[in-house]
Amino acid sequence: MAAVAIRGVGLSCALGRDVAACAAALLAGGKPPARVALPGLAEPVQVAYYRIDDGSGLFDPGRFARLLPGVVQDAVADLSASELSTLPLFIGSSCFSIGQSETGYAGALARAASDTYPMPHCGYDWLAGLVRQAIGGGGESFTYNTACTSSANALLGACRALRAGRHRHALVLGAELANLTTLSGFSGLQLLADQVRPFEAGREGLVLGEGIAAVLLSVEGAAGAMRLHDGASNCDTFSVTTADPEGMRVAEVLRQALAQAQLKPEAIQGIKAHGTGTPTGDLAEASGLRKVFGTLPPFSVLKPYIGHTLGACGVIELVMYAGALAQGRLPARLSPVAADPQLGVQPLGVSRSAPPGYYLLNQFGFGGNNAVLVLEKPA
């Protein structure tokens, strides 16, 4: 089946607001994360965090309404009002309106209001409502919540709907903004580190980040447009939180993605690894990659530059990686990398040219969810 074209993109992340500028910053080595204090806890907790520099308080519940519209409008800029009115929405997130709920509950507790109850605001569909307002339209919506693969699965869903002839265009959104539940939940799981060092010896964990990205997929694209060739998604029931160190299901989903795109491993020019920097997550990914590739293509990690944006990372990292490919370069770790001999693989250490061809983008998450996307950079 035909691939679908990436016709428009929008982005806001720790590296900035403009896709080309963010990709350039990524290729130049990025910047370190900020330190963030989690308010309201009896015992003080601070975490490293890649935040969007928008001048507002990190937990300000109005940030989604301020940041999301511009990102979405950038992606759909060349669609007509008629096309926007029926544009299907595929949304992936792991936070949704939880920040609004936190604020509402905390406010009610502070006021000692008689009707105080947790989760006064709920609903996965809240983001779809913001998108509809932003574009003045929107057709049917599909909101995905599969942890860190949420927006990658949304991309797969949109790609398949287009390939099946259901629509001519589809908007895919990945959205994750700071909230107390996520930051404190990961802190409680003891998965956070001060620095993210994927696939390195002595790596200690992940650093979270926030971002919003939107992609407009279309059945037709301009010459030179990047194209998405679907991919694959599966579930590893090894553990709800820990990846199988043997990487069996990682290898399986990589093979499924290649088979679906009718590609052999040798056709892959580069890989955007998930690369969270957790000891077990990177081990599982490395094991899976080694099982599929005799000679591993150069692979890049993006989380040292923008953090782990959780449910949004599928779309955000697609936009970032495609942005780097469009500038003709593969992202590389520019700081010295201490190889982990147990993994047997190492991310690209020196940026190199990105030739036309096929690229894989890996996303893995809690609940054993694995998703791999196949991207084509045209000649």
């Binding site: 709920s101 996965y124 909101t143 404190s184 609940g367």
Partner: protein, 247 residues
Amino acid sequence: MIRITAVGHVFNQLQDGASLPSLDAGLGQVCRERFRRVDRFIELALLGSGRCAEGRTLDADCGLYLGSGLGPMSGVIATQQQLIRDRELPKPFNFINTLGNSAGYYVAKNLGLHGQNLFISRRGASLQALLAAALTDLQAGVVRQALVGVVEEATLPLAEHRRRQGLPEDMAVAEGSHWLLLEEHATAGHRLEREHVTHHETTASRPAAFHDSIAAAQLMERLLKGEAAVLADGDPVRGWELFHFRP
């Protein structure tokens, strides 16, 4: 040709002042093991999917399409109470259970599945969104079997549960877990095509969980009786078509 080859569900109308009905006996019948540290949303998903799959072995690559209007509310509520009221870090298992796809993980583990495992929501019409996604994948050959389920959990006290959803104070409240097994190339069962799943967006005033669960429960009851008809949802005001199927 895609057909509905099995159905299974749980549906409990709830009463103010009463506790939630125990699911233990049912879970004992359909679960391979006793899962620890799971919440009611996960238990409802396990029980409904287990009843749908009872007596058959699903393909390991069967796709799982789980959805909900509200999601795992008891886990989210517990997490917010720990974090905001008690000013403590959330308990790890409460936090993990707040993920929509945690329930999908346990269903997959219980039924021996390792195929695509999705959680998709659409306010007041999650079942439609799930069916649309599953049928697209079945028709494209991405999956050959699709286990599709919508789960809505109620939390106590019911007065809070109603306020959370904007429901009238006297509205009946239910919890449910409603599942269909769709198979490509099946020769028996109700025929279902992508075109049968109509698209309706709901307004903010419509109570999502109530709509999802009542509509899905009505669908299940008809399917279990072997009836084939255009199905209207359970909305007491507007009553529009959810989807229809042909025998």
